[in-house]
Structures are given as structure tokens and as C-alpha cells.
Amino acid sequence: MLEIKHTTIRTLSILGQRGAFGYALNELAKENEQIIALTSDLRTTSGLDRFNNAYPERVINVGIAEQNMIGIASGLSTLGFVPFATTFANFASLRACEQMRHHMGYMRENIKIVGFGGGFAMGMFGITHYGIEDVSSIRSIPNIAILSPADSLETVKATIAAAQHKGPVYLRLTGVMNQPMVYKEDYDYEIGKAVQLRDGTDIAIFATGGMVHQSLQAAEQLDKTGISCKVVNVHTIIPIDKQAIMNSLGVKLLVTVEEHSRIGGLGSTVAEVLTELDEKPPQLLIGVSNEYKPAGSYEYMLEQYGLNFMSITEKIIKRYGEVK
């Protein structure tokens, strides 16, 4: 449907995932009049200003009331609207967790929740605004697809796919503006189908969200030390691409990397697949340790939790030395 030019991809990367989401929604709205946006007093922060300028009557600001927002979206969907409801990842998944369970999990209404500020994107806003438990909260609720795009272009692809997907979706956005590009040109995106970005034989890294780019950089570092490293972009956490995991069982170490609690996120999802197998590689689970550290900038927080590519490389080399 939407043709994405090379120059657009570059612009999207400058905007970051939120801006890319706003761009995608605007494009979708041109073709589908059922597309409607809701926000809990975070229209600008959600990247919805462009959409609001074009379609002011299609933006519903519910005020600072995330629980109500999900109920309203749910009711709207019963008459055919395709609501995209936006707020910070933690407010959607924690403040309104039961609303997500009820309307999306139990009643399976066709609504899309966009949780931005996943991970440490909110930097100096501090711990209240970090989205590091969202995937684990939502993942145990049946029937909700969890999408976690790697960069701005993939955010556009995921937004389009979410609109086309019949059923509840949680779209998790990570990173800040000027997010590094994982994809420099358009590609095929399908919910539930992980994408191998780099081939390798010693190690397989399964990464999601902003950690995909960090993992690609780590893989390059590892390459220099003679370790051959595959990188898989797990842009859909639920449903997990089991086949992609099965295709990587021959490595000596399987690594998962996520900007999310080590409890209940991508690493746990992959571990749940591995644990049912007789023959499997050991897993190194890299993510946010189970503690709240003092707040700081995005880069600072990645460093504190050991999630930049240098730390990721070090952790992998250490563990690889133990298991190879």
C-alpha cells in the first residue's frame, strides 16, 4: 500500500518511533476513514500533531484518564472504528492493565494501544515514566499481539500491520529522536515473522526494539574477535516466531537482548520455547535488571543497565568463553 521512499526513511529516523507512528497513522487515515486516534492528554507527545492537523475530528482526547481511554476505544470499535489509543507504555500496561485484559484479552475488541516511551526513552522524566514492565504485564493476557519495532521505518510497517490485523494489538515504541536506522530501504513485514538481519554460526542474538541496532553493532565487534554472530530482529514478541528459534538451535550460545525487565519479556518468551526442547543451546538473557536505578538520560540509563553495544559485547564474550 504505502510506498516508502529512501528520503522518507531518513526523515523518519530523525523523527524517531513516535513521529514515525504519527506519520503512518496519517497515511493510513487517508485510505481508511475508520482510523481514529485517542490520547490521554499526550497528543503532541504521541506524535499525533500532524494527524490532528489533517483530521482534527478524528482525534479524541480523553484527558488524563488512561483507563477510560481503553473503554472508550473498545466501545468505538464495536461500530467499526479502528481506534489507536496512545499513552506512555507504563500507563497503558500498568495503570490500565485490567482494562487491557478486559476489553482486549477477554472481549477481544479490535483496538490498538500504542505504548510509547518503552524502556528508558523518557530519560530525565524518571522512573515513573519508564516502560520496563509493560511487555511482562501484557504478555500473560491472552489474545493481544505485542509488536516491538526496531526503528522508525519498522514502526511505520508495524502501524500499518496493526491497522490491518483483526484483533487487539499492543504496539511498543522505544528509543528517542534520531534513532539509528536498522532498515535503510523498504522491506516485507509480517506480524509474527522475525527477520534475520545478519548471518552467523557461533552465536545467535534475538533482539527487539531499540536493542536491535545495539545488537548489530555488538555483532560487528564480536566479528572482529573471530566470533560469528547471527542477529534476528524479533519485531513481534507475541506471537513469538518459534520457527526462527528452531532455526538457530545449532549455535553455541543464544542471546536475547531487550530494553525491558529481564523478567517476563522477550528473553522469557524465548526461554519458554527453549525449555520444551531436549537439545538446545544455553541462553544469555540480557535486559533490565530487577531494580530501579537513579534516573538519567537515555544513553546514561542504557549504560547503567549494561544495554549499550559495548556492554552487550562484553557480556556475550564473557558468557561465550564459559560455554563454547
Binding site: 479524541i60 480523553v62 484527558g63 484518564a65 483507563q67 477510560n68 481503553i70 473503554g71 472508550i72 476505544a73 473498545s74 466501545g75 468505538l76 470499535s77 464495536t78 461500530l79 467499526g80 472504528f81 485490567e98 482494562q99 478486559h102 476489553h103 477477554y106 472481549m107
Partner: protein, 281 residues
């Protein structure tokens, strides 16, 4: 002036509904059932389903139907018997109440083919759903009404008030909230647990507030017809928890309880005496 026919029809239906509620609660055996919160909404349900709402019993998914959301899912029995009374479900279906894996569990589970618009049980979630439907209807220029029935204990939930503000801001004149004001909640009297001036609270948020006797069919029939031009409306229906059965009325023990053989017979006798004539199922 409300015709005597309409009133009588709802009265007969209400008696039938109470008998069916008792029958189903008795059938549920040791699982027990939410009796008190079902008996208090009987007349409200009878009036809505038999006289007020625009529905087609043989076409439950008719797009233009009025929508009813039972937000206080604990009233499930009062709801199911109204679906039966209106012809939306068969007696065979109704009598599957609380059968393992069945469609009519202790709290309603959304199934449009059975006329069930919404899954209830978790309190404070239904009004937002109804408001979303009402907003969607207005945007799509659909003329149907949306009714949301809540408990008076339910309004303890903060999420209710988020929607109260939203509905007023958006002037949802096609939305009616109904409060089953039986003045009791699970642990006892609302007055003792969370005291609230119900009328002042809703009025303070800008809603039209109408108070009526929730067991008086004539009053309910006069209250419901929609003659509003702007803004959402709440009907505070004063009711009695466990209405119609002396030992259940205003008793916290009968919020949820098991109806033994003896008590079932006793309750049925009371209905027959009060109802004058015995009306068969």
C-alpha cells in the same frame, strides 16, 4: 399517560422473572448465585427489554438495536431472565445457567448471538464501553440509545468518574446510565462503607439526574423515554436489594448465597402470595 396494558405486561413479566431467578439459583445448587443484586433490577430490566428498548428478538445483532450494557455483572440473573422474557434466548438456553462451560455463567460473557453486548463482572468498566458506543453512534449518525446499568456500590470505582467527565464533555445525549440504588454493597450498607450524595455527585459533573422508584413500573415507563437534547443522563433508581423475597431483602447474606430446597419453596410461596395469580413459565 402510560397504558394499563403496558404496565400489566411488565408486572407479569417481573413476576415471571423473579420465579425464574429463584429457579436458576436453586438449580445452581452449592455454587450459589448473586440473588440480591439480581432481584433489585427486575422491574428496570422488564421495562427496558419489554417496552423501552428498540430490539429485534429474532435478530440480536440488528445494527440499529438499542444497546444495553450490564456493568454490574453481579445482576446477571436479572439480565438472563429478561433476555428470555424478551424472546432473545430460549428457555432451554436460560436453564443452562451456571452449567460448567456454558454461555450463562455467574457473570455475563459477551455473546452478541445471545443478546449479550458486554462481559461483566469487573466493576467500573462498563460505563466507558457504553460511552464509546454512544460516541461511535453519534459519529456514524446512528440513532440508537445506549443504556448502562451500574450498581451504587460500583461507583466507588474511580474509573467510573473518568467516564462521567468524558461523557459530559462530549455531550453524549444518547447515553443513559442507570444506578441500581439498592443502598447495599458486598460488605453491607453503602452508607457505612462509602457514603455519597449520589444525585449531587452526578449533577456536579453536569449530568441530567432523574430519581425514581426502581420497582414502580409506571414510574420507570415515564422516566425512560428519551426527550433530551443535550448531555448524558443518569437515572437513579431507588431499589431494594433482594426485592420480593422477605428474607433476602436488605440482607447482605443474600448478595451471593445458596438457595436450599426449603428456602426455594418458601420464596416461591411469597411470590405467589404477593403476585396474586400464579403465572406459569
Amino acid at each position: 399517560m402510560i397504558s394499563a396494558d403496558k404496565i400489566e405486561r411488565c408486572q407479569i413479566a417481573s413476576l415471571n422473572m423473579r420465579k425464574n431467578i429463584l429457579h436458576l439459583a436453586h438449580q445452581a445448587g452449592s455454587n450459589g448465585a448473586h440473588l440480591g443484586p439480581a432481584l433489585s433490577i427486575v422491574e428496570i430490566m422488564a421495562v427496558l427489554y419489554l417496552q423501552i428498548m428498540n430490539i429485534r428478538p429474532f435478530d440480536p445483532i440488528w445494527p440499529l438495536r438499542d444497546r444495553f450494557i450490564l456493568s454490574k455483572g453481579h445482576g446477571a440473573l436479572g439480565y438472563y431472565v429478561a433476555l428470555f422474557e424478551s424472546g432473545l434466548i430460549s428457555k432451554d438456553a436460560l436453564y443452562t445457567y451456571e452449567i460448567n462451560g456454558g454461555s450463562f455463567s455467574g457473570q455475563p460473557s459477551k455473546d452478541l448471538s445471545l443478546g449479550i453486548e458486554y462481559s461483566g463482572g469487573s466493576l467500573g468498566l462498563g460505563l466507558s464501553y457504553g460511552a464509546g458506543i454512544a460516541l461511535a453512534a453519534r459519529r456514524k449518525k446512528e440513532l440508537f440509545q445506549t443504556y448502562v446499568l451500574m450498581g451504587d456500590g460500583e461507583v466507588n470505582e474511580g474509573s467510573v468518574w473518568e467516564t462521567v467527565m468524558f461523557a459530559k464533555h462530549n455531550d453524549l445525549s444518547n447515553l443513559t446510565a442507570i444506578i441500581d440504588r439498592n443502598s447495599m454493597q458486598s460488605d453491607g450498607s453503602c452508607e457505612d462503607i462509602i457514603r455519597i450524595d449520589m444525585e449531587a455527585a452526578w449533577r456536579g459533573f453536569g449530568w441530567d439526574v432523574i430519581t425514581c422508584d426502581g420497582h414502580n413500573i409506571s414510574e420507570l415507563l415515564q422516566t425512560f423515554p428519551n426527550d433530551r437534547t443535550n448531555g448524558p443522563r443518569v437515572i437513579i433508581a431507588n431499589t431494594v436489594k433482594g426485592k420480593g423475597i422477605s428474607f433476602m431483602e436488605n440482607s447482605k447474606d443474600w448478595h451471593h448465597n445458596r438457595l436450599t430446597d426449603d428456602l426455594y419453596q418458601k420464596a416461591l410461596c411469597e411470590l405467589d402470595e404477593a403476585g396474586g395469580v400464579s403465572v406459569g413459565n
